[in-house]
Structure formats: C-alpha cells, structure tokens
C-alpha cells in the first residue's frame, strides 16, 4: 500500500528516476533509428550478396543478452579501454549508446519485414514515374510507416526494461544514471521493498500501456 502512496504523492525521487529512464531509453532508441532505419530500407529494397545472411544475423541478435553487450561495451569504454579517451563510462551517454546498440537488431529486423511487405508494385510504379533511389525509399517508408513505428516502440520497450547495460555502463549513480531497472535492483537488495514495488509498478504501467498502443496501431494500421 505504501508503494501506491509513494507514486500518488509524487515522490520527487521516483519522478526523477522515471524521467531519467524515459529520456535515456527514448533518446537511445531514437539514436538507434538514425542508422537502423536506413539499414532496414537497404535490406528490404536492395538486392545484394549476403542479404539473407545479414538479415538472419540481425534476427539472431535480437535476443543478445544485455549483460554480454554490457560487458563488451564496458571494456570498450573503460578509461583503460580503446575508447577510454571519451570518458563515457558511468555517464548517461554510455547507457544511451549501449541501449541504442542493443535495440538496433529489433528496429532493423522488424522494420525490414514491414518494408518488405509493402506492395512491390508500388516500387516499380515509383520508378516508372521517374523517382530517384532516395525518393523511392521515401515512398516505401511512408507506406510502411506503421510497421516501422511498431518496431521503434518495441525497441523502446526493450531498452526501457533492460537492466544489464544500464547497470554495467551507468553504475547506478543517484540522479545521474539511476534508472528504473537499476533502482529496483538496488532498492530490493537494500531492503526498501515499498520503493521497489512502486518503481516496478511504474515500469510495468509504461511498458504495458505501450504494448496496448502497439496493438491498437496494429489493428487500425493499414
């Protein structure tokens, strides 16, 4: 019951953790879109050698364990690691980068299949009407936008709810890199169950309402 009180009373600690979580994972997902959507457009619309293998590679990477990626990036970003110069470890940027890589396979795989399902006639039509490569992509992406949106939301959900990358790269520093999942892990190990439950309720509420949105889109989308 105290958990619900904590949420309703608008506890500043809970609010700031939630805001941080939303912004880090949100921006991480957007960052991933910068390269994932062009990749998936290429995969869906172009033919090249090794296309199938590339696609199945992205498919396989969807389930990459977050701790494995976390460890890999940790060694990379550590001050004594190859990218140590940038001093990114234990900053929100590190989590953002980690999560953007984590969700890349999700965005790529899901949007590729969304774009592939766009009517192939549309492509040839655009071409015959004299569209350039880029313009053709634009038309196809516009047509498959719902599928791509779905992919992005699913990716956000994965980033938002993961623990491994946030813990290993962020270090769970209060007000800096303490996000919902790491806070839940900490408060449980620290024994503040009410706070853990409150944070978990928020986490669940957000991920589940996003899933509902996804389903609505899926039903109403073209």
């Amino acid at each position: 019951m105290r958990a619900v009180d904590l949420i309703l009373s608008g506890d500043p600690e809970i609010l700031s953790i939630t805001a941080l979580s939303l912004s880090i994972s949100g921006l991480g997902t957007l960052l991933s879109c910068v390269w994932s959507i062009p990749i998936s457009a290429g995969l869906a619309l172009r033919n090249f050698r090794g296309k199938r293998i590339t696609k199945s590679l992205f498919n396989a990477l969807i389930g990459i364990p977050t701790v494995a990626l976390g460890l890999f990036l940790y060694l990379l970003l550590s001050r004594s690691g190859p990218l140590g110069y940038f001093q990114l470890l234990y900053t929100p940027w590190a989590i953002m980068i980690g999560q953007s890589i984590l969700v890349t396979p999700i965005v790529v795989s899901f949007s590729t299949s969304a774009l592939e399902s766009v009517d192939p006639d549309l492509r040839s039509l655009a071409r015959t009407l004299g569209a350039s490569d880029l313009q053709t992509y634009e038309v196809i992406i516009k047509e498959g936008i719902w599928g791509v949106t779905l992919a992005v939301i699913a990716a956000f959900n994965r980033a938002f709810a993961e623990l491994g990358v946030a813990m290993m790269l962020g270090g769970n520093i209060r007000n800096v890199t303490r996000v919902l999942t790491t806070a839940i892990a900490l408060e449980t190990s620290r024994g503040d169950i009410a706070l853990s439950v409150a944070l978990t309720l928020i986490l669940l509420a957000i991920t589940m309402s996003l899933s509902v949105v996804v389903n609505l889109i899926r039903r109403s989308g073209p």
Partner: protein, 351 residues
Amino acid sequence: MLIVLVVGGVALGIYGYSISGAPSRARLIVSTTTSLYETGFLDELKSKLESRYPAMNVSFISQGTGLAIQTAMRGDADMILVHDPAREYQFLKGGYGVNRKIVAYNFFVIVGPPEDPAGIRGMSSVDALKQIRSAGLEGNVVWVSRGDDSGTHSKEKSLWKVGRFDSAQLRKEAWYLEAGSGMTATLKLANEKCGYTLTDIGTYLLNFNNHNIELVKLVESGKNLLNVYSVIAGNPKNPNMTKANFEGSMQLIRYIVSDEGQGLFENFGVSKYGESLFKPYINLVKSQSDPELIRWIQDSAFFGGSECPQEFRYQAADLYSTQGPTSILLTCLLTGIEGRKAPTWIQLLKE
C-alpha cells in the same frame, strides 16, 4: 519521420546541456563498498560535501571492495573508499593509489537465528565458527558466505584461517553456502535459510530495524572482528589514471578527515539506531580515549607502522602531520615502548 528525428535531435541537445550543466562541475568517481552505500551514509556525505564545495560533483559506485579496487585499477574510478587492509596494501604497492587515510571503524558481528541452534552465543569469533562448522557437518545449520570478494568476505576468510580452516575447502561442504551478492541480499538469504553469517554492524542494524530479517547478533566485538574503513586517492602518476581527478580525490579525503567529515560518521544513524554505524577513527586518535582500541586498529590496518608509508604519499604532507610528536609520544607511552614497537616509533618521528 523527419519531424520525429528533428524533435529527437533537439531533445538530445537540451538533455545534453542539462546533464552536463552550464558550468561543468569536476566529476569525481568513488568506487566503494556496499556497506557504506546501502546504509545511506554516502548520500549524506555527498550532499554535505557538495554543499560545502559547490564545484564538486561526486558519484559513488557501490561494489564489493574487491571489485571496487579493480575498477580503480582500470582507471574507471578516481579513488576508493574500502575496508580491506591487505588488499589496500596491494593497491598501494602496485602503484595504483596514494595518500591512504584510515577514516572510520566499527565491528563485524556474527548473526544467526534467534534460537541459535549451533549454540554460539557469547563465544569468541573463532570458536563460534568452529562450532558452526561442526553443527553444519551434522546437518543442523548452514553458514552463508558473501562469496563476492568483498571486504566482508575477506574478513570471513581470514577468520576461518585463524581457526585453521581453509575456506576454499569449506565451500565444497554442503553447509557452506555462497550468496555472491551484497550484504543485505546475503543477510536475507541467511534469514530465509535460518543460517549464520558475518556482517558489518551498519547493514545489519539497517535490515533488522526495517524488519527485513529476524537474525540476532550472537558474537560481537573482539579484535578479530574489527572493521576498518580507509580512503585512497588514485595515483596520478599511474598510466591508467592520468585522467583521474586527483584534486577532487584529495578534496574529498581532506573533507572526510576534517572535524566536519568525522562528525558525519559520529552522528550518522544515532537517532535511528541509538549508536553511530561508523565510528570516526581520527576523533578516536585525537581523544586518546581508548588506547587499546587504537592499538588494535593500528595492528590490523597499519602497514609497517604507518597508515600510509612515506613512499605511498604524494603532495600531501599536511595530511599526515596532524599526529604531532606529542601525540606519538603519548601513544608510545600508553602502549609501552617495547623493543618491537621502537622502530615504529622512530619511523613515525622521522615522518
């Protein structure tokens, strides 16, 4: 799509600006032990320190002592705040740290179920462990070890060693469980299993008062159970630490040994638990109220007669001058100038 990307870019910019802060504050990363963190002491230290030095921005990464030291050795932390003298010495000796200061102490306790099935209440720590093992072999009780290379885990291993057991062998026996996690998690595991465990007093009181656990203190105090916390700055000359914030580390060390910093230890937890969870060491030395305890601490956490031998100091002569010749003389008189103490005494005077 474009709109989304533009909005995202703007948001990213605003966010970047807000987290880096307009005048960028020097960031200090301290890797530290779970006991200080879980009790909430470090949150208090952070807020007091930052209100005193507004230019500072301290981040605490809570790990077991073993991991905390490794993090600093890789250069990912600027300094450490830990409780494992043997490993601290390795850290200094390896050229990773300088300017060690002992800052606080308390005692470990052995806790167990209120019914105390092994019957260890009031025993000495080593006898208690022997008793737990024999009861464990009969299948009556279990022992829960941290098993995570933390300072508490080191202490546990050294206690078994004093009792002539090898914890590497013990872990093969069925009554010896390893939690592999922080102190609170270990206490809760012990509580679920009705087992015994070794814990720092701070984390124990926190969980006992929160009604997280029913375990009771069965063995407390005694030289073997002493728990000494120290701070060590990263060595700016170490190639891994060229980017470390040495000035910030020294600022934190100077604050924590100051009267105000020591007062934080003194007062933390008093209103809630009736006693301070971490007792200030420098105040203890200054007051000279308990020479025997001071000697215990020095026996267990000094290296070659000093909390930080000369060769491990760097631009910090003032840190070690508080212990003036008079107080050294007093310590020597109180502890008795024995043959084996004499070199220590001379060394201290030289410094």
